[in-house]
Amino acid sequence: MMHCADPETGLSLWLDRLSLRSMLGDVERAAVMTLPGIVEQVRPNRDFVRLGDYVDRSCLILSGMAGRFGQARNGERLTTAIHIAGDMADLHSAVLPTAASALQSLSETTIYRIPHRAIMNAAERFPMLAQALWRDCTVDAAVLSQWALRNARQPALSRIAHLIAELGVRFGIGDARNGKDFEFPLNQVQLGDATNLTSIHVNRMLRQLREAGVVAVKDRRVHIFDWQRLCAIGEFDPTYLHLQRADDEPQLQARATNRLRR
């Protein structure tokens, strides 16, 4: 996992992610890099946006890991997204400021709270940036859709494999993935909350993956032994993450630009 407890590095990571999906010029990039905010350190397992809160800032994750979750009346939680460094965890709150889902730190986490006013001002000044922010929210929705499908239709082993593969890709472990490892601060309970399984079931599945020589989770790290099998077990296809570079789709971008200029 990349550590970036300073806003500049965090904004830069987010900008890199936005640029994967949108073509941004120098002025848009400068607008992102100069977004003001407040740095906040959050201890593990703390809710830093609570259900129903009216918020006037969005949270960029600078380091650590956060979960977006819903909660049933009996207190049971289901994590519906995991956010890592460089993710704007609740960008949507800039237009929907009452929190319909909450945010919790899953490890020691540093966040950068950016005023909605600053985000909206930048979006109003730069239409291409507005489109990039819109696209970022749309990708969050695509991930949520994938998680809903996975947790409703896939068996337990597949859910765990899918989540590990997704995080591997999002952490950018590269193309030659066998033998790679990455930081993985989730414990079994948190993994269970993200896959709708009990921690006992999670432990059983992790053992199966380890004994099959696919992956091992040890000392808060995932060790990848067989990436192809991990993806096959998880039925993992990263298309929904939309991590293909925007300049790989020049025609799409040109059409979008022309529409904005009309």
Binding site: P155, A156, Q188, T198, S199, I200, H201, N203, R204
Partner: protein, 80 residues
Amino acid sequence: MARFLFHLHESGAVTRDEEGRELADLAMAQRYAETAARAIISADVEEGALCLGCFIEIENSQTGQRKVVAFRDVVHITCR
């Protein structure tokens, strides 16, 4: 609160729990193990298997106190 470990025993194979989870007391831990046992039974039945001899061994990591939750005891079985 106490930290309880949940070791899963399946036909001689043991999945040891090194992490556990914090719960108020042994009664809460037992309820959690029962829920987990039913979820595992459900998943196994979907794949055409059922192990009624399996069990979850609960261990209080501070006191060493132990309790067993047998799979056969967490479901009501009828054969009519």
